[in-house]
């Protein structure tokens, strides 16, 4: 089974890419699970068409049935099946400003592992909240729930900065990176810039998704474009990315840049003669 985690700056398109990858794999016949590791619990809506009840909202019940040996069955009740059979789980977490979301992620993942939730799957995708904010959000990498990480970034400086910062976290955890995904904002030479960063940290640009109104439009009605406009060029690009990830065998522990080197990389892009 492939265990894949999607990291990246807040709002960069992690959930969009996670759901679309899951949809593409499932549509090609693979058994797929998408786990939303975010207190917002908004990862799976585009596969289900509605918001799913988060696992942590029913934690006591699940633990009680785990104690009596029935966790896998009650967990099964919680795992909703979405587009093309993708199994969808939202971990959830506290209201903003209280509690400890990171701790929640690690507790939920452990409970899922104990309950055999990851059995009979070809791919599990973890859609992880924003930047690495505390130890809890590193848990999917640390405890081996995810074995390959894909970082989503655009060509904007803040997104590249976050991507490099995630590499820093991965280096200290010795977690392996499968590649960098460019989710474009429509900047000039954006793809080359992301690719330069990917090479600089020792990895590759594994795929490029164009900026397109088709994504937010489809999201409005709770669908992926794999479902709503499967023949579109954008859907084709998603399918190509999903295939590239399936074929990928290039897993490395990234070597992050220091701040000065990252600044240099960004400045070099402006000097490259491309019109801004």
């Amino acid at each position: 089974m492939r265990r894949i985690a999607v990291y990246g700056k807040g709002g960069i398109g992690k959930s969009t890419i996670s759901t679309h990858l899951a949809a593409a794999w499932a549509a090609s016949g693979l058994r797929v699970m998408l786990v939303g590791c975010d207190p917002k619990a908004d990862s799976t809506r585009a596969l289900l068409g509605h918001r799913s009840t988060p696992l942590l909202d029913r934690y006591e019940e699940l633990v009680a049935s785990a104690d009596s040996g029935g966790a896998s069955s009650s967990l099964r009740g919680l795992i909703e099946v979405g587009f093309a059979g993708v199994r969808c789980v939202e971990i959830g977490g506290p209201e903003p400003g209280v509690g400890c979301a990171g701790r929640g992620i690690s507790m939920a993942l452990e409970l899922m592992e104990q309950s055999n939730a990851f059995a009979d799957l070809d791919v599990v995708v973890f859609d992880i909240l924003g930047d690495i904010v505390c130890g809890g959000f590193a848990v999917p990498m640390r405890l081996g729930f995810a074995r390959e990480v894909y970082i989503v970034t655009s060509g904007e400086y803040s997104a590249l900065y976050a991507a490099n910062n995630i590499c820093r976290g991965m280096r200290s955890l010795q977690a392996t990176l499968g590649g960098i995904i460019a989710n474009c904002r429509g900047l000039p030479a954006e793809k080359q810039l992301v690719e330069t960063l990917a090479h600089a940290v020792g990895s590759t640009l594994i795929g490029t998704i164009p900026r397109s109104g088709a994504f937010p439009r489809s999201a409005m009605v709770g669908k992926t474009i794999i479902e709503s406009v499967p023949e579109s060029a954008e859907a084709g690009q998603i399918v190509r990315l999903s295939q590239a990830i399936l074929d990928n065998q290039n897993l490395i522990v990234p070597s992050p840049l220091d701040d000065a080197a990252l600044d240099e990389l960004a400045a070099a892009c402006l000097d490259s003669g491309v019109e801004w």
Binding site: L56, E60, P94, V98, G99, C100, A101
Partner: protein, 396 residues
Amino acid sequence: MREVTARVEPLLSCSLCGAIRATAGVKGAVPMVHGPMSCASGHRGIPLQGNAEPLVPPTALTDIDIVRGTSKYLQDAVRKLYQVRSPPLTVVILTCATSLISEDYQRIVRDLTQELHSPVILVDGSAIAGDEIDGYRRFVRALTQTVVPPASAEDAPAGGLTLRGLAGTDFGISAELPILTEMVRDSLGLEVRGSLFLQFDLQKDMPLLSLPGIPVGWLWTEAEVWQPAPYGAEGTRRWLSGIAEAMGSQPELNARSGWVEAQEALSSWRTKLQGMRVAIEALSWWAVGLGLFLQKELGCQVLLSTDRYGLEYQHRYGEFADTTLVDVGNFELLTYLDDFQPSFVFGSSFVKSGPWQWIPFHQPIWHETTESPGWMGPAGAVRLATILAQGEALYA
């Protein structure tokens, strides 16, 4: 002087324990531990050290409570406590877990204070945030800042002072407090009107807060000039003149308390006790006071195992101990004692067993002992020197 700082088995516990000790000093007050079960249940022994009911209710949070947020549990627990007991003061003490996730507890206790018409205060008891001494201090700050109205000097009884910084759980406090009170009365003609945060009555004792306060015990380093506990004849005289100075008006120091006579009695023991090795395990006010007496007045060699202020005192006012251990406790301390080979050890039950005579001096004391006869003041000093000279502990 040899200085050793260690925290493998620290002498001091977490801030939470200091807050529980301090809470025990306010009549009827209840410490509510906001965190996991064991942070409360593990420390119910503390009120017992002061012969108080071991009432330390916890919010008993579990893993999932921490994830979802703990504010609601805290509100429910405090409301419940009021239904059952309506204490005059509730002290909400944060643990490491709740301190780390840092919700808006300050607002919660403020709202509860209004809702229940009874003060609820907040003390960060996390060991990450500080140790036992910090916890005691935080409690005093929280109480005086949020509960106590601004002092009005008219309400205060005239000609008095207060001692601030003792705890009901201090070992031997019931013997020493009357000694302190009497010495101040006899030598300075001043009346100790209360020992703040020790048997403090929120209904009656508020006016005492506007009296001059002499920092002792847990708060002794808040004084401008640090005055360690009055052990010995010279130590007692020094402490009393310290008070006189702090009071500003220079009250006449008369010798009725007997420290002049004691000085003579002690000098006769000095030849016998010169060079005797004595170890002291205690918080700095007590440890430094006793150590100075033993070293300066009786010529003993002293090992101190104490808090950071015991070391700081010697850096400021002069070294007197052979060895000063900072924050070393339990078995770790025993290894240093084996090295030092003391004839007498003053301290907790942890240091009872060894090739030395033990004198109970510092909590926790779990071996059955007779009450402390009181070692402070001139009479206490003579009592103590006699025991050391005879080479026998009171408590075999």
